[in-house]
Amino acid sequence: MSETPYTATYYVLPAWNEEIALGKVLADLRTVDPLGHIIVVDDASCDETIKAAESGGAYVLPMVTQLGPWGAMQAGMRYAAEKGCWRVITMDSDGQHLPSQIARLTDAMDQTDANVVIGACSERGSFLRKFAWTIMKLFSGISAEDLTSGFRLYDHRAIALLVGEEASYLEHQDMGVLARLLGKGMKVVEVDVEMHPRVSGTSRIFNSWLKVLWYMLQTLLLSVSKRRVERVNLEKYKAASAHD
């Protein structure tokens, strides 16, 4: 991929205590895009995540205090936007999202002229996660297969909408982000991708009933507040196979 400013693709990986998985994720990413601009946002980890990121040749944004998944993600997007990104790919640092699947996202964007492509994997996830998806779809009026996927490709127009102060009121890269993008007329499509189980750590949300309950209450309120009058069914881009 190109590395010239204003046509460059940036990879943003928020990381929290991911010293074990991060090295392999970055190495795999380098094999896909040897010259890619990789940004690892260290969300105040207690382990050697920063060292692992620097060893992998990534730019490191070290947070002095933990901002949570969206705060970290937005920091990476702001940095990419400041450097003149053309596209931004967001991925988890725990090994769930496979660099080999990035081509499916870029292909979907090129073919559909979308502003955002979501890498969807509906097979993944616990009962809690699937329950959360159902509630979100019901109340938000947005019908998508994988609403919480962090494996996404954004173009520079979508990025411009997400780096502003208004988007800093959000806490997660799910309903709020999608509602904001759709409300501004952005085209969002989904494409099936393969995902792996995380190599280390646990989900920051879907690891206890209490956290899920709190998350669901917040998401419910956000979904109702930002609900669109017309129901939106996200377009599904059908690629040849999810296991290319």
Partner: protein
């Protein structure tokens, strides 16, 4: 006696607000709304007939109920506006933390380049 107590409470709240602003413990913009609440306390405390007339005009039989409802509503509005202010402050802190991390990333990048340049010049 109740009137005196209510009026005195209003004056005490007003004096506390002035003291906090004087000692730079409270910003003026937050103090103004509390001063209005204190003024209402003092007004209805020292002139209870005003409250009675207000209750009659609103069709409330027991006038202290009006004071309680107005006071409760004012507190709820104040609490919500405080959360709005707090959200704004948290967003500003988030933006600052992000900006700090972005600047640190640039510093790290420049230091790395400087080290490489230094190494290359030493090798020559």
């Amino acid at each position: 006696m109740t009137e005196l107590f209510t009026g005195a409470t209003g004056l005490f709240v007003a004096a506390t607000i002035v003291y906090l602003i004087k000692r730079d413990r409270l910003q003026v913009r937050h103090g103004v709304s509390w001063m209005l609440v204190a003024a209402l306390f003092a007004l209805f405390g020292f002139a209870p007939s005003l409250l009675d007339r207000l209750a009659v005009s609103l069709g409330v039989a027991y006038s202290p109920t009006v004071a309680l409802v107005v006071g409760g509503s004012a507190l709820i509005i104040k609490a919500v506006s405080s959360d709005v202010e707090r959200s704004l402050s948290e967003v500003k802190i988030t933006r600052l933390v992000q900006r700090l991390a972005m600047l640190e990333a640039d510093i790290r990048r420049l230091e790395k380049h400087a080290d490489q340049d230094h190494q290359e010049s030493n090798d020559r």
